[in-house]
Symmetry: C2
């Protein structure tokens, strides 16, 4: 029975590309994309993706060639999630918040054959080009700009532009066959960098199989029915929009695209298009609270909001739900191809007092359906922790939806998969009802506006400063961004900044911050620098960061950011690679 030969009728590789073809057949006339005045149906989106894929084939894309893209949540970004893998390529969506240096580092590591850029990044492209030239990176990369669908800014007729590729693409039947002939579902579909820094870039390789299964879990975990209207508040470059890019095709949903995440834009789009679903980090809740609440008189239900990245305070959830949103929490990470835990609502919770409901809602929940297993383990003994809601352990997961590994980084891959699980590095407890609650984010990560900032990366830069002896960076609270980096610095001998006797100030806080800004993306720079004589350490000489975090908790940010009416209209890039 196990020896029965399989054939093309019953053994088809799993890939989310099939969702697009199915959408074009099952929901041909439903609206696939809304973007300002632009409207596409699923049949049109399918055709545009086929055309783009054809053009990439004509431009000699080869199997597993990387195609990088730097763009906000515009239709092109959505289409590339299908067209690139249809042409056999691997999509590499790059965090638009990164600076040229970080982007250059990613490109240099990923070695893309094509780089698509939204036209607003034209000067950034020149900077990147310059950086890559200096570093003598042998990167033979074709740069293609994306203009608004109805307004090309092509400089010369020979320049390749996105809409031009769509126009010139003319799928032949042999091309279409090639487009859908994924031979192996373990082939890569996407390459997502977890942090855009120069040292040790971690490019998460996602397979077709993994993406497919993650999509199904997202649909089931969030209970997305057929035909949702999805507002793109979450950047697609973050873990492929938590796989909701592909999932929307699976559900024949409508993608409401936006360039700017502001309260005005969010509320306008919800009202205009009857948005049913959106994803965001809790930081966006503050934006929503400062905007005009929804008029629910003509709406049939609340807007479903999936939130992750950090645990929203119960009081904040309550306030946002009061506006007409229904919040569900998800926990995930790029390495898990999106969600890993969903806070599935239990019917019996409806009978609990509201405050208790909010507390339950703030937990991370249960393992998604397409995980093979999940557990919380004692990091020393590797034993499962008791389900008592108290004993902490590391969250570990396994399953076919998990990444293939880090590109060209076998060491990091090995570490991630130690003991036969993906070790998330996040610390949690299991409650008696099986729900997991994260008690501490992985020790070193700072989550600022939903973005993961590795303290180690900042420390590496600080350590390079000639006057710095030791550096330890931890999170400090920030009213707007949740957390922001705070650096504890021990200066080289004789370079002390404090004490009474040696009054000569050799380096000031703002100098070190300025130094960081020259060497790091702005959002990663410490907002506070504390000079100390020595750092607290354990017996093995390891810096005791929890002690520093305790100190940093007492600090108040004193910089140009504040929560005021001005903030509401500001662009908020507040998303995370750790969902």
């Amino acid at each position: 029975m196990d020896k029965m030969a399989l054939c093309e009728a019953n053994n088809v590789p799993l890939t989310p590309i099939t969702f697009l073809k199915r959408a074009s057949e099952c929901y041909p006339n439903r609206t696939s994309i809304i973007y300002g005045q632009t409207r596409f149906t699923w049949r049109q989106t399918y055709e545009r993706c086929c055309r783009l894929a054809t053009s990439l084939l004509t431009l000699n894309i080869s199997k597993n060639d990387v195609v990088s893209v730097v763009a906000p949540n515009i239709p092109a970004m959505y289409e590339m999630h299908f067209a690139v893998p249809m042409a056999g390529g691997v999509l590499n969506p790059i965090n638009t918040r990164l600076d040229a240096k970080s982007m250059a580092a990613i490109l240099s590591h990923a070695q893309p054959k094509f780089l698509f850029l939204d036209r607003i990044f034209e000067s950034l492209a020149q900077e990147i080009h310059h950086l890559l030239a200096i570093e003598d990176t042998h990167l033979n990369m074709l740069v293609i700009f994306i203009d608004e669908t109805d307004f090309s800014k092509k400089i010369s007729p020979n320049e390749l532009d996105y809409e031009g590729l769509i126009r010139s693409g003319e799928p032949t039947s042999s091309m279409v066959t090639r487009m859908f002939s994924i031979q192996n579902e373990q082939d890569p579909i996407s390459l997502n960098y977890t942090s855009g820094t120069t040292a040790d870039p971690k490019g998460v390789v996602v397979s077709h199989r993994g993406a497919y299964l993650s999509c199904l879990s997202a649909i089931m975990g969030w209970e997305i029915g057929t035909g949702p209207v999805y507002l793109w508040t979450l950047p697609m470059f973050h873990c492929n929009g938590w796989t909701l890019t592909w999932s929307m095709a699976a559900r024949g949903g409508t993608n409401v695209c936006m360039r700017q995440v502001t309260a005005l834009e969010i509320y306008k789009n919800i009202e205009l298009h009857g948005v049913t679903h959106m994803c965001c980090v809790p930081t966006v809740f503050n934006i929503l609270l400062q905007g005009n609440p929804l008029d629910f008189s003509h709406r049939s239900g609340p807007v479903q909001v999936l939130t992750g990245g950090s645990s929203p305070p119960a009081a904040l959830v309550k306030k946002v739900e009061g506006l007409g949103f229904k919040v569900m929490q998800v926990y995930g990470l790029t390495e898990a191809t999106g969600a890993a835990l969903f806070c599935e609502w239990q019917d019996e919770w409806n009978r609990l007092p509201e405050n208790q409901q909010m507390k339950l809602k703030a937990r991370q929940g249960v393992g998604i359906l397409t995980l093979a297993d999940f557990d919380v383990k004692d990091t020393e003994t590797q034993e499962s922790v008791p389900r008592d809601g108290k004993t902490m352990g590391e969250i570990v997961i396994k399953g076919s939806c998990i990444m293939k590994g880090y590109l060209k980084n076998p060491k990091a891959t090995f570490e991630a998969f130690k003991n036969g699980w993906l070790n998330t590095g996040d610390i949690g407890v299991v409650h008696p009802d099986g729900h997991v609650e994260i008690k501490d984010r992985s020790k070193d990560i700072i989550i600022s506006g939903g973005e993961n900032i590795s303290s180690v990366e900042i420390e590496n830069v600080l350590y390079k400063h000639q006057k710095v002896l030791e550096a330890a960076v931890v999170a400090m609270p920030h009213l707007m961004w949740g957390e922001t980096p705070c650096a504890f610095i021990v200066l080289e001998k004789g370079e002390t900044n404090h004490g009474d006797r040696e009054a000569k100030v050799v380096i000031r806080e703002r100098d070190l911050i300025e130094y960081c800004r020259e060497n790091l993306p702005r959002f990663m720079c410490p907002r506070k620098v504390v000079f100390v004589e020595e750092l607290p350490k354990n017996g093995n000489g390891k810096i005791l960061k929890p002690k520093l975090r305790d100190i940093a908790k007492g600090f108040v940010v004193n910089d140009e950011d504040n929560i005021g009416s001005k903030v509401v209209q500001r662009r908020v890039d507040c998303f995370t690679s750790r969902l």
Copy 2:
């Protein structure tokens, strides 16, 4: 990137067994099974399944050994869907309506190592044993009876019984490891016979991968949220209850089990346990209409009913919905491991007049999400038919959720998979909105009470009668069962039953029906026999069954069955292998 080595953390075979372990962890205290006074939680169901699997391992079950079961929708039947594959076995649920001869033929073909029987089938077991002995089938099969959980009828202390196996099973950690170590997701999990007849039995082999994907499609297609309360009106032996056996574990649902499908039992269970979902063939709608409608004063919504097997008339759907049910149609077949098309509701349909809504609801719908592709093709040219709602073609499907093939029947397997698709044999049209509507069931199948009856099988029996020259069996209408077989017979020369001159009646209608009853399960026997001088044929000598069907359409059944109040309390085995 495609060469990255996979490991146990990111490459885990897909199997619905994982749903059970997950349910025990994510929904440990939720009720898994309700059966009369019996209640289990998901933790208990998991433990019972582990124990049963352990006992099977102790009884030396080997990988891919077949375990047959003849039982109604009782907890044991549910548990075996997990315990048998956990022990490495292949579940073979047998249609309880079959007679001893048909069951013996299946057992002889499937060669199970274990046969589990509900105690009510004790005399049937003896008959089967006798038949297998006569035929000298070398079947070394251990028979195990299933009693009610709290009431053993064991004859001797040495006799193995189901609850005894559960009691004696004591999973060791090495056994548990073995239980969850599915090495290959293409391994078989279930063996489902499409018709229980003696000639050419077709045993559909379902893989772990196929079952897994089908479950996910059932959950998404029917939009089953977390924690449904599912009433087992559909037999689990039919295509593993359209895969809802495993799917209920995936959703942490409650399985309400019943031995008897009567209006009384259905309504009682819905009221008592707050049933949210049930599946049935349209025949059950008649049962529902004759029972006491639901009291909806304390219910939050309608009972979701998934129906398939044959297309319910719009008027019938309307009536049933009036009782408090919400009907969704599904089209599937055992070969597709359950559903293939779901009639997904479109939001815009809510604005249409009710009659039009009912017509849309009576269509079979769009391909399920885990199909790789589906199409309706001209059977001659193999071209897709135009999407005009008029042009008919054969429904064909492909994808990893489709069966591996027919056991020991390469010819039938080859035929089924011709042209790289699973050829369903069902004829339909595609509407402009992408929804498929079946216009004609595959030509020869008679669907009686939801059961597929192959006319060829009946004809084979009739042809064996010494006085029969030619036989053609087609469907005739039946008030209760939808269709029932009608036989057209040409007698051997000189054996004519009609005409004026030769008045000697050599064989009567009731004799031939009686003959069929001796050789076929009762439900397969013709209710009417028509003696004719010759059968209508085409140029190639092929019998023109459409012509016969036209004649049979005019007949009225005249037998002991009628729709009366008596029927309501009758056991209804009205389900189908073609969903």
